[in-house]
Structure formats: C-alpha cells, structure tokens
Amino acid sequence: MQKMLKYFFSIGALLLFSGILFAQSERVKGLRLGVDISRFALPYIQAEHEGYEVSADFEIKRDIYLAGEYGVESINLEKETHNYISDGYYFRAGFDKNFMKSEDPSEYEMVFGGLRYGFASQTHSGNTIIIYDPYWVSESSANLSDAACQTHWIEIVGGIKVELFRNFFMGWSVRGRIRLAHSGYSIMEPYNVPGYGNGAKKSNLGLNFSLYYRIPLYKQTVDYKQTED
C-alpha cells in the first residue's frame, strides 16, 4: 500500500512539472444547417439550369461529423435539334473529418475532408425532336415521353468552414465524383444528373459555396489536453 501511494505521488509530481494537465471542459453539441448560395446564381450563368441545395452536419465524436446534403434540380434546354426537360432530386450522405486541431472546446471551425454516397432520381423527356438527313434532304420529327433515371455515385469532398460570428459560418468545398451505377439511360442519357453533374461523364468535379447556422443542442463534458508554457 505504501509503495502504491509512493508511485501515485511520484507520477503526479512528474505530470505537474512537465506542465501537462488534463482538464474537463464542456463542448456544446449542435446541428449545423447550411444553404448553398452559389445555386442562386446558376440561372444567370446557365440559363437552362435551376437548383437548390441544403446541408447538415453533426459532430458524433471529436472532429468526426455525420454529414449530408439534399437538393433539387431542373433543366429546361432548348436546342435547334430538340428541347429537353428534366426534374429531379438528390441526396448525399457520409462523414467529414476535421483536420484543424484546436484545444479550445468552443471551436467549431473546420478544415475537413470527407466521403459521401450520392443518389439521384429524375424524370426527363425530349420534345420537338428534329432529325435531318443531309444527303437525302429529308426531315422527321418525334417526341420522347417521360423516362425515369436513377444514378449512384461516391464522392470525395474537402473544404473549410469558418465562423463569421457566433454560430454563423461560411465555407466552400471541392468535390470529386465517380459514378457507380445508373438505370434508365438506354434511349436518352441525362443532360445533367441532379447533384452529380454531366450525365455523359463517368466522373465529375463540383464546387459549393455555403452559409451555415449552427443550432446548439446540448452540452457534453469532454477531456481536453492543455499544455502550459
């Protein structure tokens, strides 16, 4: 017993002189909701394209977040050879890892990387289709009625989230997507897959620029390593 006490006090003294202390602190867990504000400018850049996206993340463990996005997109494309209409929704779900180390338990900014699984469902149609034969100088017209498509992909994401003022954040992310599977493409491939991008490509890049608000939910006691000079 005496030996045990001797070792206990020795270790305590060692920790005290090394300046390393473990302290308990409170971290407020919250749900961070975001809106991709770049989508509001889409119709001014690509007149045929309209869409909206919301996102959410929640810290399940220190620096590990459950994250996801949901959005809707529509296309109304007019070409010389055909008109094309598409409407659909998508969601992405996965995890983010925060690589920005902070000793402040009230720090919620992030430099992160993550993975997502993505899924999109849409219906599309081709109207006033004109097919012209240049040698025979003949023309025919057709319409393709609504067809349903689904697309699955995986996504690697990286970005930052910076706190502008209390609980309000701004951030951007870069995304690389690889298509895994699709259905409903046989007669007409989608011009654009909601949430994924160009339907003709097996991989796509994407960028987002978002504003977030973090809703504080509850406090959790956490152990924090503090270093004294």
């Binding site: 770049s38 850049i45 010389e80 081709g126 289709i129 025979w136 007409m188 960028l207």
Partner: protein, 181 residues
C-alpha cells in the same frame, strides 16, 4: 463566387451519318481489282453522286435515308474482263470486233481471250431496314439505330448478296453486306 457546375463542350464531335458498308467479292475473295471504276447515287438524287469515279476499290459506304425504311441506289460498275463469250451465230472467222476502247480483236473462235476490255454494268440496289430513335448526344441531337432487314438488287453482274452484319454502327466502317460478282 464559386459555382457548382461541370464545364461542357457545346460542339458536336460525333458522326451522325448512317452508312451501309458494302464489300464486293470476286472469286470469293475481296480484290480491289474486282471493280475497276465505280459510280453511285441515291435514286432521286441523280445530281448528288455518292461516288464519282473511284478506281480499284472494292469497299463502299452508302448513306441510308434515316427518315425512311428503304433506300434505293443506282450503281455503275466498270469491271475489267479478259473473256468475252459470243453466241455461236456471231462472227465468222477472222472477223474484227470493235471494242469500247480503241482495241480491235481478231476472232479465232466463239470464246476468246482479250486484254483490258472494260465492261460497264448498271445495277439497282435496294436496302430495307428498321429504325429506333436514340440520342447521339445533347450537343449533336438525335438519330436512329438502324438494323438492316434485307438487301436485294438487279442481277446484271451481281451473283448473290449476303447480309454479314445487320447493325449499322455510326462512324465505323465495318462490313454490313457482301456482294458476290
């Protein structure tokens, strides 16, 4: 402002023509010398020759009318023959026959060998097929997937026709029809 979109190439980079590829065979082999010269046009398009004098080739691509189920072509084949068969009633011995080219031949018997006799033969070729609409790309527009049903012709020099590959592949010169002379 950073935006979420993929850049697209707006120009059409793919072929929209649906050609039937025909190979002529003589003596069961494909020989470029099977046909000395070749002319072709779509019937009704006499003023727009598909082929206007092509020397020493045996493979040709004819554009199918994608807005119809049948295409008709007028072919002019000029072949080189080395044998002319004459009926028994023709031509006593030592007769002189004038040929299309300024060669004259002395007849020794009803069947005789000559050199460089050009034979001009006209054939009509009819191709029928089924069509299914498909999107080539949003930049190019729509076309049809074409599958050949049958091919037939007049038989002035054509002996037989064989459908080797009924599927027309856009932009690829793969043989679809064998024509035996």
């Amino acid at each position: 402002m950073i935006f979420a979109f993929s850049c697209r190439n707006e120009s059409c980079m793919e072929s929209l023509t649906n050609n039937v590829t025909i190979n002529f065979y003589k003596d069961n082999t494909t020989k470029d010398s099977a046909i000395y010269n070749f002319y072709a046009y779509g019937i009704g398009k006499n003023d727009n020759l598909i082929y206007d004098s092509v020397l020493m080739k045996s493979s040709f691509n004819l554009p199918l009318n994608i807005n119809s189920d049948t295409s008709r072509f007028e072919l002019t084949l000029i072949t080189i023959t080395d044998t002319i068969h004459l009926p028994d009633s023709c031509c006593p011995r030592d007769s002189i026959i004038k040929t299309p080219l300024p060669d004259t031949i002395k007849i020794y018997k009803p069947t005789f060998k000559v050199k460089n006799i050009y034979d001009t033969i006209h054939e009509t070729l009819i191709v029928s097929y089924s069509r299914e609409i498909e999107l080539v790309s949003h930049e190019c527009g729509f076309s049809y997937i074409i599958k050949l049903d049958s091919v037939w012709s007049t038989k002035n020099i054509i002996d037989s026709i064989y459908l080797s590959n009924p599927t027309i592949e856009r932009g690829i010169d793969a043989e679809n029809v064998k024509i035996f002379l």
